[in-house]
Protein backbone atom coordinates (compact mmCIF):
# COMPACT_ATOMS: atom_id res chain seq x y z
CA UNK A 1 0.00 0.00 0.00
CA UNK A 2 1.29 3.46 -0.90
CA UNK A 3 4.86 2.50 -1.52
CA UNK A 4 6.15 5.96 -2.33
CA UNK A 5 5.08 7.23 1.06
CA UNK A 6 6.76 4.46 3.01
CA UNK A 7 9.81 4.94 0.88
CA UNK A 8 9.94 8.64 1.54
CA UNK A 9 9.67 8.08 5.26
CA UNK A 10 12.47 5.56 5.11
CA UNK A 11 14.57 7.90 3.03
CA UNK A 12 14.12 10.71 5.56
CA UNK A 13 15.27 8.41 8.30
CA UNK A 14 18.27 7.38 6.26
CA UNK A 15 19.24 10.94 5.45
CA UNK A 16 18.92 11.88 9.10
CA UNK A 17 21.03 8.95 10.20
CA UNK A 18 23.74 9.78 7.68
CA UNK A 19 23.72 13.42 8.70
CA UNK A 20 23.95 12.45 12.36
CA UNK A 21 26.89 10.15 11.70
CA UNK A 22 28.61 12.79 9.60
CA UNK A 23 28.04 15.38 12.31
CA UNK A 24 29.38 12.99 14.93
CA UNK A 25 32.62 12.70 13.02
CA UNK A 26 33.20 16.42 12.60
CA UNK A 27 34.68 17.19 16.03
CA UNK A 28 37.25 14.46 15.49
CA UNK A 29 38.71 16.71 12.84
CA UNK A 30 37.71 20.14 14.00
CA UNK A 31 39.40 20.75 17.33
CA UNK A 32 39.08 24.48 17.60
CA UNK A 33 37.03 25.02 20.77
CA UNK A 34 35.39 28.12 19.38
CA UNK A 35 34.12 26.25 16.36
CA UNK A 36 33.07 23.39 18.58
CA UNK A 37 31.16 25.84 20.74
CA UNK A 38 29.35 27.16 17.70
CA UNK A 39 28.48 23.62 16.68
CA UNK A 40 27.14 22.85 20.13
CA UNK A 41 25.00 25.97 20.13
CA UNK A 42 23.78 25.18 16.64
CA UNK A 43 22.69 21.71 17.70
CA UNK A 44 21.14 23.04 20.88
CA UNK A 45 19.16 25.73 19.11
CA UNK A 46 18.26 23.27 16.39
CA UNK A 47 16.84 20.94 19.02
CA UNK A 48 15.05 23.76 20.84
CA UNK A 49 13.56 25.11 17.67
CA UNK A 50 12.51 21.63 16.62
CA UNK A 51 10.69 21.27 19.91
CA UNK A 52 9.11 24.71 19.64
CA UNK A 53 8.02 23.72 16.17
CA UNK A 54 5.90 20.89 17.55
CA UNK A 55 3.56 23.24 19.36
CA UNK A 56 3.84 26.31 17.19
CA UNK A 57 4.66 24.91 13.78
CA UNK A 58 2.65 21.72 13.65
CA UNK A 59 -0.16 22.55 16.04
CA UNK A 60 -0.23 26.22 15.10
CA UNK A 61 -0.23 27.62 18.63
CA UNK A 62 2.37 30.34 18.31
CA UNK A 63 4.24 30.52 21.58
CA UNK A 64 6.61 33.38 22.22
CA UNK A 65 7.20 32.33 25.80
CA UNK A 66 9.11 29.09 25.48
CA UNK A 67 11.97 30.65 27.40
CA UNK A 68 9.83 29.82 30.43
CA UNK A 69 10.33 26.10 29.91
CA UNK A 70 13.94 26.53 28.96
CA UNK A 71 14.59 28.55 32.09
CA UNK A 72 12.59 26.27 34.37
CA UNK A 73 14.43 23.25 32.99
CA UNK A 74 17.73 24.96 33.71
CA UNK A 75 16.64 26.03 37.17
CA UNK A 76 15.16 22.71 38.23
CA UNK A 77 18.32 20.87 37.24
CA UNK A 78 20.65 23.38 38.84
CA UNK A 79 18.67 23.78 42.04
CA UNK A 80 18.27 20.04 42.51
CA UNK A 81 21.99 19.62 42.06
CA UNK A 82 23.19 22.55 44.13
CA UNK A 83 20.67 22.30 46.94
CA UNK A 84 19.98 18.57 47.11
CA UNK A 85 22.85 16.95 45.29
CA UNK A 86 20.59 15.34 42.72
CA UNK A 87 22.64 14.37 39.69
CA UNK A 88 21.89 16.46 36.62
CA UNK A 89 20.79 13.38 34.71
CA UNK A 90 17.85 12.99 37.03
CA UNK A 91 17.39 16.73 37.31
CA UNK A 92 17.01 16.86 33.60
CA UNK A 93 14.19 14.35 33.57
CA UNK A 94 12.59 16.04 36.56
CA UNK A 95 12.82 19.40 34.81
CA UNK A 96 11.29 17.95 31.69
CA UNK A 97 8.37 16.40 33.49
CA UNK A 98 7.87 19.50 35.62
CA UNK A 99 7.71 21.69 32.53
CA UNK A 100 5.38 19.34 30.70
CA UNK A 101 3.01 19.60 33.66
CA UNK A 102 3.37 23.37 33.81
CA UNK A 103 2.69 23.58 30.09
CA UNK A 104 -0.51 21.63 30.51
CA UNK A 105 -1.59 23.63 33.53
CA UNK A 106 -1.04 26.83 31.59
CA UNK A 107 -2.61 25.37 28.49
CA UNK A 108 -5.81 24.79 30.36
CA UNK A 109 -6.82 28.45 30.38
CA UNK A 110 -4.60 29.64 27.51
CA UNK A 111 -5.70 27.34 24.76
CA UNK A 112 -9.05 29.06 24.69
CA UNK A 113 -7.28 32.12 23.39
CA UNK A 114 -6.79 32.69 19.71
CA UNK A 115 -3.91 34.07 17.64
CA UNK A 116 -2.19 37.10 19.06
CA UNK A 117 -4.03 36.90 22.36
CA UNK A 118 -2.43 33.52 22.89
CA UNK A 119 1.00 34.67 21.77
CA UNK A 120 0.94 37.65 24.09
CA UNK A 121 -0.31 35.48 26.95
CA UNK A 122 2.71 33.23 26.47
CA UNK A 123 5.01 36.25 26.52
CA UNK A 124 3.59 37.68 29.73
CA UNK A 125 3.51 34.31 31.49
CA UNK A 126 7.20 33.84 30.73
CA UNK A 127 7.86 37.38 31.95
CA UNK A 128 6.00 36.67 35.18
CA UNK A 129 8.14 33.57 35.64
CA UNK A 130 11.25 35.63 35.05
CA UNK A 131 10.24 38.29 37.54
CA UNK A 132 9.30 35.78 40.19
CA UNK A 133 12.61 33.97 39.97
CA UNK A 134 14.44 37.26 39.84
CA UNK A 135 12.92 38.06 43.22
CA UNK A 136 13.20 34.65 44.80
CA UNK A 137 16.12 34.68 47.20
CA UNK A 138 16.32 30.93 47.71
CA UNK A 139 16.79 30.37 43.99
CA UNK A 140 19.56 32.92 43.85
CA UNK A 141 17.37 35.80 42.68
CA UNK A 142 19.23 38.15 40.38
CA UNK A 143 22.57 36.68 41.45
CA UNK A 144 21.78 33.46 39.65
CA UNK A 145 23.32 30.17 40.62
CA UNK A 146 26.62 28.72 39.71
CA UNK A 147 27.16 25.00 39.34
CA UNK A 148 30.17 24.19 41.47
CA UNK A 149 32.90 22.99 39.13
CA UNK A 150 34.76 19.97 40.49
CA UNK A 151 36.73 18.46 37.68
CA UNK A 152 35.68 16.14 34.89
CA UNK A 153 32.92 13.71 35.67
CA UNK A 154 30.40 11.86 33.58
CA UNK A 155 28.23 11.38 36.59
CA UNK A 156 27.90 15.11 37.09
CA UNK A 157 28.24 15.83 33.42
CA UNK A 158 31.04 18.30 33.94
CA UNK A 159 34.09 18.69 31.80
CA UNK A 160 36.58 21.48 32.25
CA UNK A 161 38.00 21.80 28.80
CA UNK A 162 36.77 19.01 26.60
CA UNK A 163 33.74 19.95 24.60
CA UNK A 164 33.19 16.53 23.10
CA UNK A 165 30.78 15.23 25.74
CA UNK A 166 28.68 18.37 25.39
CA UNK A 167 28.82 18.12 21.66
CA UNK A 168 27.59 14.56 21.65
CA UNK A 169 24.90 15.34 24.13
CA UNK A 170 23.68 18.24 22.01
CA UNK A 171 23.83 16.04 18.95
CA UNK A 172 21.82 13.38 20.72
CA UNK A 173 19.29 15.97 21.83
CA UNK A 174 18.92 17.26 18.28
CA UNK A 175 18.54 13.70 17.02
CA UNK A 176 15.91 12.93 19.63
CA UNK A 177 13.98 16.10 18.86
CA UNK A 178 14.16 15.33 15.16
CA UNK A 179 13.19 11.73 15.63
CA UNK A 180 10.27 12.57 17.89
CA UNK A 181 9.05 15.00 15.26
CA UNK A 182 9.56 12.49 12.51
CA UNK A 183 7.78 9.82 14.44
CA UNK A 184 4.89 12.03 15.47
CA UNK A 185 4.52 13.39 11.96
CA UNK A 186 3.05 10.10 10.81
CA UNK A 187 1.03 9.41 13.90
CA UNK A 188 -2.45 10.26 15.02
CA UNK A 189 -1.06 13.23 16.92
CA UNK A 190 0.80 14.61 13.94
CA UNK A 191 -2.33 14.60 11.82
CA UNK A 192 -4.45 15.97 14.60
CA UNK A 193 -2.04 18.85 15.15
CA UNK A 194 -1.92 19.89 11.57
CA UNK A 195 -5.68 19.63 11.31
CA UNK A 196 -6.11 21.81 14.39
CA UNK A 197 -3.72 24.34 12.95
CA UNK A 198 -5.44 24.53 9.58
CA UNK A 199 -9.06 24.49 10.66
CA UNK A 200 -10.18 23.63 14.18
CA UNK A 201 -13.89 23.53 13.24
CA UNK A 202 -13.33 20.99 10.51
CA UNK A 203 -10.98 19.06 12.77
CA UNK A 204 -13.66 18.75 15.41
CA UNK A 205 -16.19 17.47 12.93
CA UNK A 206 -13.72 14.72 12.07
CA UNK A 207 -13.39 13.50 15.61
CA UNK A 208 -10.28 15.47 16.54
CA UNK A 209 -10.32 16.52 20.17
CA UNK A 210 -8.84 19.96 19.66
CA UNK A 211 -8.09 20.68 23.28
CA UNK A 212 -6.31 17.38 23.86
CA UNK A 213 -4.27 17.91 20.72
CA UNK A 214 -3.01 21.24 21.93
CA UNK A 215 -2.27 19.84 25.38
CA UNK A 216 -0.32 16.94 23.89
CA UNK A 217 1.73 19.22 21.69
CA UNK A 218 2.42 21.60 24.56
CA UNK A 219 3.58 18.80 26.85
CA UNK A 220 5.96 17.23 24.33
CA UNK A 221 7.28 20.60 23.29
CA UNK A 222 7.84 21.83 26.83
CA UNK A 223 9.49 18.59 27.90
CA UNK A 224 12.09 18.73 25.16
CA UNK A 225 12.75 22.43 25.61
CA UNK A 226 13.24 21.89 29.34
CA UNK A 227 15.81 19.20 28.64
CA UNK A 228 17.53 21.73 26.40
CA UNK A 229 17.50 24.15 29.31
CA UNK A 230 19.08 21.56 31.59
CA UNK A 231 21.76 21.00 29.03
CA UNK A 232 22.44 24.70 28.85
CA UNK A 233 22.76 24.94 32.61
CA UNK A 234 25.28 22.11 32.65
CA UNK A 235 27.20 23.46 29.71
CA UNK A 236 27.48 27.05 30.87
CA UNK A 237 27.43 26.02 34.55
CA UNK A 238 25.98 29.35 35.57
CA UNK A 239 22.44 30.56 35.14
CA UNK A 240 20.64 33.74 36.02
CA UNK A 241 17.05 34.67 35.25
CA UNK A 242 17.83 37.17 32.51
CA UNK A 243 20.01 34.89 30.50
CA UNK A 244 17.83 31.78 30.52
CA UNK A 245 14.31 33.18 30.71
CA UNK A 246 14.46 36.46 28.83
CA UNK A 247 12.03 37.26 26.06
CA UNK A 248 14.88 37.38 23.57
CA UNK A 249 15.43 33.71 24.22
CA UNK A 250 11.89 32.84 23.25
CA UNK A 251 12.39 34.64 19.98
CA UNK A 252 15.73 32.99 19.34
CA UNK A 253 14.11 29.62 19.82
CA UNK A 254 11.46 30.34 17.22
CA UNK A 255 13.72 32.06 14.73
CA UNK A 256 15.45 28.99 13.24
CA UNK A 257 12.15 27.26 12.59
CA UNK A 258 10.67 30.32 10.96
CA UNK A 259 13.66 30.95 8.76
CA UNK A 260 14.10 27.30 7.92
CA UNK A 261 10.46 26.49 7.42
CA UNK A 262 7.85 26.52 10.15
CA UNK A 263 5.88 23.34 10.58
CA UNK A 264 8.35 21.31 8.56
CA UNK A 265 10.51 18.39 9.60
CA UNK A 266 13.83 19.82 8.46
CA UNK A 267 13.18 23.53 8.76
CA UNK A 268 14.35 24.12 12.35
CA UNK A 269 17.64 22.29 11.91
CA UNK A 270 18.32 23.95 8.60
CA UNK A 271 17.47 27.34 10.09
CA UNK A 272 19.76 26.72 13.06
CA UNK A 273 22.64 25.59 10.85
CA UNK A 274 22.49 28.88 9.01
CA UNK A 275 21.44 31.23 11.75
CA UNK A 276 23.51 30.28 14.76
CA UNK A 277 26.92 30.40 13.07
CA UNK A 278 25.80 33.68 11.55
CA UNK A 279 24.88 35.07 14.97
CA UNK A 280 28.10 33.93 16.56
CA UNK A 281 30.41 34.95 13.75
CA UNK A 282 28.96 38.41 13.24
CA UNK A 283 29.28 39.09 16.95
CA UNK A 284 32.75 37.62 17.28
CA UNK A 285 34.27 39.19 14.22
CA UNK A 286 32.53 42.50 13.84
CA UNK A 287 31.01 43.01 17.27
CA UNK A 288 34.34 44.06 18.75
CA UNK A 289 34.16 47.42 17.03
CA UNK A 290 31.50 48.58 19.46
CA UNK A 291 29.67 50.45 16.74
CA UNK A 292 26.72 48.22 16.16
CA UNK A 293 27.86 47.06 12.73
CA UNK A 294 27.36 43.43 13.71
CA UNK A 295 23.75 44.18 14.55
CA UNK A 296 23.22 45.83 11.21
CA UNK A 297 24.67 42.89 9.31
CA UNK A 298 22.86 40.29 11.39
CA UNK A 299 19.51 42.08 11.27
CA UNK A 300 19.74 42.72 7.56
CA UNK A 301 20.39 39.07 6.89
CA UNK A 302 17.36 38.05 8.94
CA UNK A 303 15.16 40.47 7.03
CA UNK A 304 16.52 39.28 3.71
CA UNK A 305 16.06 35.59 4.49
CA UNK A 306 12.55 36.20 5.80
CA UNK A 307 11.59 38.11 2.68
CA UNK A 308 13.37 36.03 0.07
CA UNK A 309 11.89 32.78 1.36
CA UNK A 310 8.79 33.58 3.37
CA UNK A 311 7.94 29.89 3.46
CA UNK A 312 11.37 29.06 4.82
CA UNK A 313 14.72 28.12 3.39
CA UNK A 314 13.59 24.52 3.16
CA UNK A 315 11.78 25.68 0.03
CA UNK A 316 15.17 25.79 -1.66
CA UNK A 317 15.33 22.03 -1.39
CA UNK A 318 11.86 20.88 -2.25
CA UNK A 319 8.53 22.44 -2.94
CA UNK A 320 6.88 19.67 -1.10
CA UNK A 321 8.96 20.20 1.99
CA UNK A 322 7.93 23.82 2.07
CA UNK A 323 4.28 23.10 2.14
CA UNK A 324 3.99 19.99 4.21
Amino acid sequence: MDKSFTERRRRELLVAASLAVAAALVPLFVKNPNVQNIMILTLMFGALSQSWNILSGYCGQISLGHALYFGLGAYVTTLLFVKFGVLPWFGMIAGGIFCALIAMALGYPCFRLGGHYFAIATIVIAEIGLLLIQNWEWAGAALGIEMPVRGDSWLKFQFARSKLPYFYFALALACVAWFVTWWLEDSKWGYWWRAVKDNPDAAQSLGVVVFDSKMGAAAVSAFLVAVGGSFYAMYVSYIDPGSVMGFQFSLLMALPAVLGGIGTLWGPLLGAVILIPLTELTRSYIGGSGRGVDLIVYGTLIVLIALARPEGLIGLFSRKGATR
Binding site: D186, R194, A195, D198, A202, Q204, G207, R324
Partner: protein, 243 residues
Protein backbone atom coordinates in the same frame (compact mmCIF):
# COMPACT_ATOMS: atom_id res chain seq x y z
CA UNK B 1 -36.31 0.00 15.93
CA UNK B 2 -35.88 3.66 16.76
CA UNK B 3 -34.88 6.27 14.24
CA UNK B 4 -31.18 6.92 13.78
CA UNK B 5 -31.54 10.63 14.27
CA UNK B 6 -34.22 12.58 16.00
CA UNK B 7 -34.47 16.24 16.86
CA UNK B 8 -37.07 17.07 19.45
CA UNK B 9 -38.43 20.58 19.53
CA UNK B 10 -35.09 22.18 18.65
CA UNK B 11 -34.70 25.94 18.78
CA UNK B 12 -31.74 28.06 17.82
CA UNK B 13 -31.64 31.78 18.34
CA UNK B 14 -28.95 34.24 17.32
CA UNK B 15 -29.71 37.34 19.29
CA UNK B 16 -33.13 38.34 18.06
CA UNK B 17 -33.04 36.08 15.05
CA UNK B 18 -34.68 32.69 15.26
CA UNK B 19 -32.83 30.36 12.91
CA UNK B 20 -34.58 27.15 14.00
CA UNK B 21 -37.86 27.08 15.81
CA UNK B 22 -39.35 23.96 17.25
CA UNK B 23 -37.81 21.66 14.67
CA UNK B 24 -38.66 18.01 15.21
CA UNK B 25 -37.51 15.67 12.50
CA UNK B 26 -36.44 12.08 12.42
CA UNK B 27 -34.31 10.14 10.01
CA UNK B 28 -34.58 6.36 9.84
CA UNK B 29 -31.71 3.99 9.29
CA UNK B 30 -30.73 3.56 5.66
CA UNK B 31 -32.81 6.46 4.41
CA UNK B 32 -31.75 9.24 2.10
CA UNK B 33 -33.58 12.31 3.31
CA UNK B 34 -33.53 15.65 1.55
CA UNK B 35 -33.61 18.80 3.63
CA UNK B 36 -34.70 21.66 1.46
CA UNK B 37 -35.96 25.14 1.93
CA UNK B 38 -35.30 28.75 1.04
CA UNK B 39 -31.97 30.45 1.58
CA UNK B 40 -31.65 31.33 5.21
CA UNK B 41 -34.32 28.88 6.30
CA UNK B 42 -31.99 27.37 8.86
CA UNK B 43 -30.83 24.19 7.16
CA UNK B 44 -27.12 24.65 7.78
CA UNK B 45 -27.89 25.78 11.28
CA UNK B 46 -29.76 22.55 11.90
CA UNK B 47 -26.77 20.63 10.56
CA UNK B 48 -24.54 22.49 12.98
CA UNK B 49 -26.82 21.53 15.84
CA UNK B 50 -26.85 17.90 14.82
CA UNK B 51 -23.10 17.80 14.39
CA UNK B 52 -22.54 19.54 17.70
CA UNK B 53 -20.92 22.80 16.58
CA UNK B 54 -23.28 24.62 18.91
CA UNK B 55 -25.73 23.50 21.54
CA UNK B 56 -29.34 24.27 20.67
CA UNK B 57 -30.94 27.10 22.59
CA UNK B 58 -33.71 24.67 23.48
CA UNK B 59 -34.74 21.12 22.66
CA UNK B 60 -32.82 17.89 22.41
CA UNK B 61 -31.07 15.82 19.81
CA UNK B 62 -31.06 12.03 19.83
CA UNK B 63 -28.69 9.96 17.83
CA UNK B 64 -28.65 6.19 17.70
CA UNK B 65 -30.90 5.94 20.72
CA UNK B 66 -28.87 8.32 22.83
CA UNK B 67 -29.34 11.90 23.92
CA UNK B 68 -26.37 13.71 22.39
CA UNK B 69 -27.58 17.27 23.00
CA UNK B 70 -24.63 18.16 25.19
CA UNK B 71 -22.01 16.03 23.48
CA UNK B 72 -19.12 17.87 21.83
CA UNK B 73 -18.67 17.65 18.08
CA UNK B 74 -15.64 15.38 18.14
CA UNK B 75 -17.45 12.83 20.25
CA UNK B 76 -20.49 12.86 18.00
CA UNK B 77 -18.19 12.12 15.11
CA UNK B 78 -16.87 9.14 17.02
CA UNK B 79 -20.47 7.99 17.56
CA UNK B 80 -21.04 8.11 13.82
CA UNK B 81 -22.10 11.58 12.71
CA UNK B 82 -20.19 12.64 9.61
CA UNK B 83 -20.72 16.04 8.05
CA UNK B 84 -19.58 18.36 5.30
CA UNK B 85 -19.49 22.14 5.50
CA UNK B 86 -21.39 24.29 3.06
CA UNK B 87 -18.52 26.76 3.05
CA UNK B 88 -15.77 24.21 2.61
CA UNK B 89 -13.21 23.91 5.39
CA UNK B 90 -10.32 21.93 3.96
CA UNK B 91 -7.00 21.65 5.74
CA UNK B 92 -5.36 23.91 3.22
CA UNK B 93 -1.71 23.19 3.93
CA UNK B 94 -2.21 19.44 3.89
CA UNK B 95 -2.40 17.17 0.89
CA UNK B 96 -5.68 15.58 -0.15
CA UNK B 97 -4.72 12.20 1.24
CA UNK B 98 -3.61 13.73 4.54
CA UNK B 99 -6.94 15.54 4.78
CA UNK B 100 -8.72 12.23 4.49
CA UNK B 101 -6.37 10.46 6.89
CA UNK B 102 -7.45 12.86 9.62
CA UNK B 103 -10.95 11.52 9.19
CA UNK B 104 -9.84 7.92 8.91
CA UNK B 105 -8.02 8.13 12.24
CA UNK B 106 -11.30 8.11 14.11
CA UNK B 107 -11.72 4.40 13.58
CA UNK B 108 -8.20 3.31 12.72
CA UNK B 109 -5.55 3.81 15.35
CA UNK B 110 -2.86 2.08 13.32
CA UNK B 111 -1.45 4.55 10.83
CA UNK B 112 -1.10 2.01 8.09
CA UNK B 113 -4.76 1.11 8.41
CA UNK B 114 -5.82 4.73 8.38
CA UNK B 115 -3.79 5.35 5.27
CA UNK B 116 -5.26 2.33 3.55
CA UNK B 117 -8.74 3.44 4.48
CA UNK B 118 -8.04 6.93 3.15
CA UNK B 119 -6.88 5.58 -0.18
CA UNK B 120 -9.96 3.44 -0.35
CA UNK B 121 -12.18 6.46 0.21
CA UNK B 122 -10.33 8.48 -2.39
CA UNK B 123 -10.88 5.71 -4.90
CA UNK B 124 -14.52 5.58 -3.93
CA UNK B 125 -15.01 9.32 -4.39
CA UNK B 126 -12.92 9.55 -7.53
CA UNK B 127 -10.23 11.76 -6.02
CA UNK B 128 -7.46 9.16 -6.16
CA UNK B 129 -5.59 10.96 -8.89
CA UNK B 130 -5.39 14.10 -6.77
CA UNK B 131 -4.16 12.34 -3.62
CA UNK B 132 -0.87 14.17 -3.34
CA UNK B 133 -2.10 17.61 -4.34
CA UNK B 134 -2.34 20.28 -1.68
CA UNK B 135 -5.91 20.98 -0.70
CA UNK B 136 -5.38 24.68 -1.41
CA UNK B 137 -4.70 23.81 -5.06
CA UNK B 138 -8.06 22.13 -5.58
CA UNK B 139 -10.84 23.84 -7.50
CA UNK B 140 -14.09 24.36 -5.60
CA UNK B 141 -15.86 21.32 -6.98
CA UNK B 142 -12.99 19.11 -5.92
CA UNK B 143 -12.90 20.69 -2.50
CA UNK B 144 -16.52 19.76 -2.01
CA UNK B 145 -15.72 16.23 -3.04
CA UNK B 146 -12.90 16.25 -0.52
CA UNK B 147 -15.39 17.27 2.16
CA UNK B 148 -17.39 14.16 1.35
CA UNK B 149 -14.32 11.96 1.27
CA UNK B 150 -13.16 13.19 4.67
CA UNK B 151 -16.55 12.61 6.20
CA UNK B 152 -16.79 9.13 4.65
CA UNK B 153 -13.40 8.25 6.04
CA UNK B 154 -14.81 8.60 9.54
CA UNK B 155 -17.10 5.66 8.67
CA UNK B 156 -20.22 7.45 9.82
CA UNK B 157 -23.62 5.99 10.40
CA UNK B 158 -25.20 9.25 9.39
CA UNK B 159 -23.77 11.49 6.70
CA UNK B 160 -24.83 15.14 6.57
CA UNK B 161 -24.23 16.59 3.11
CA UNK B 162 -24.59 20.35 2.82
CA UNK B 163 -24.80 21.34 -0.85
CA UNK B 164 -22.03 19.11 -2.10
CA UNK B 165 -23.51 18.64 -5.56
CA UNK B 166 -23.78 22.28 -6.53
CA UNK B 167 -21.79 23.80 -9.35
CA UNK B 168 -21.82 20.64 -11.44
CA UNK B 169 -22.97 20.24 -15.00
CA UNK B 170 -25.97 17.92 -15.25
CA UNK B 171 -23.75 15.11 -16.45
CA UNK B 172 -21.35 15.55 -13.58
CA UNK B 173 -24.24 15.81 -11.19
CA UNK B 174 -25.37 12.36 -12.29
CA UNK B 175 -22.02 10.99 -11.18
CA UNK B 176 -22.56 12.68 -7.85
CA UNK B 177 -26.01 11.19 -7.51
CA UNK B 178 -24.60 7.76 -8.23
CA UNK B 179 -22.01 8.34 -5.56
CA UNK B 180 -24.63 9.15 -2.94
CA UNK B 181 -26.53 5.99 -3.88
CA UNK B 182 -23.35 3.98 -3.50
CA UNK B 183 -22.84 5.53 -0.09
CA UNK B 184 -26.26 4.43 0.97
CA UNK B 185 -25.58 0.94 -0.29
CA UNK B 186 -22.72 0.67 2.16
CA UNK B 187 -25.29 1.14 4.90
CA UNK B 188 -24.88 4.82 5.60
CA UNK B 189 -27.88 6.99 6.23
CA UNK B 190 -27.84 10.31 4.36
CA UNK B 191 -29.39 13.65 5.23
CA UNK B 192 -28.69 16.12 2.47
CA UNK B 193 -29.28 19.77 1.72
CA UNK B 194 -29.42 20.64 -1.94
CA UNK B 195 -31.11 23.33 -3.99
CA UNK B 196 -31.01 21.68 -7.39
CA UNK B 197 -34.34 19.87 -7.65
CA UNK B 198 -33.26 17.84 -10.63
CA UNK B 199 -30.73 16.19 -8.38
CA UNK B 200 -32.58 15.94 -5.11
CA UNK B 201 -35.95 14.71 -6.17
CA UNK B 202 -34.96 11.48 -7.92
CA UNK B 203 -32.45 10.71 -5.17
CA UNK B 204 -34.20 11.11 -1.89
CA UNK B 205 -36.70 8.80 -0.22
CA UNK B 206 -38.25 11.61 1.70
CA UNK B 207 -38.02 15.38 1.72
CA UNK B 208 -38.31 17.79 4.64
CA UNK B 209 -38.92 21.43 3.84
CA UNK B 210 -37.80 24.09 6.27
CA UNK B 211 -39.03 27.62 6.00
CA UNK B 212 -38.27 30.48 8.38
CA UNK B 213 -36.73 27.97 10.74
CA UNK B 214 -39.82 25.76 10.94
CA UNK B 215 -40.71 22.50 9.29
CA UNK B 216 -43.11 23.50 6.56
CA UNK B 217 -43.89 20.20 4.88
CA UNK B 218 -42.57 16.69 5.03
CA UNK B 219 -43.22 13.80 2.69
CA UNK B 220 -42.55 11.95 -0.56
CA UNK B 221 -40.57 14.11 -2.96
CA UNK B 222 -43.25 13.96 -5.59
CA UNK B 223 -45.85 15.23 -3.13
CA UNK B 224 -43.63 17.87 -1.68
CA UNK B 225 -42.87 19.58 -4.98
CA UNK B 226 -46.56 19.86 -5.68
CA UNK B 227 -47.37 21.41 -2.36
CA UNK B 228 -48.49 24.98 -3.00
CA UNK B 229 -46.80 26.19 0.19
CA UNK B 230 -43.50 24.79 -1.02
CA UNK B 231 -43.99 26.25 -4.44
CA UNK B 232 -44.72 29.69 -3.19
CA UNK B 233 -41.98 29.73 -0.56
CA UNK B 234 -39.26 27.87 -2.33
CA UNK B 235 -39.70 26.55 -5.84
CA UNK B 236 -41.26 29.45 -7.64
CA UNK B 237 -43.51 29.50 -10.63
CA UNK B 238 -41.35 27.68 -13.08
CA UNK B 239 -41.51 24.53 -10.99
CA UNK B 240 -45.19 24.97 -10.47
CA UNK B 241 -45.60 24.77 -14.20
CA UNK B 242 -43.33 21.80 -14.68
CA UNK B 243 -44.77 19.88 -11.78
Amino acid sequence: MTALLETRGVWQRFGGLVANSDVSISVGRGEIVGLIGPNGAGKSTLFNLIAGVLPPTQGSIWFDGEDVTKMPAAERCQRGVGRTFQVVKSFETMSVIDNVIVGALVRNTVMREARRKAHEVLEFTGLAARADVLASDLVPAEKRRLEVARALATEPKLLLLDEVLTGLTPTEAQTGVALVRKVRETGITVLMVEHVMEIVMPLVDRAIVLDLGKVLVEGKPADVVRDPKVISAYLGDRHAQSA
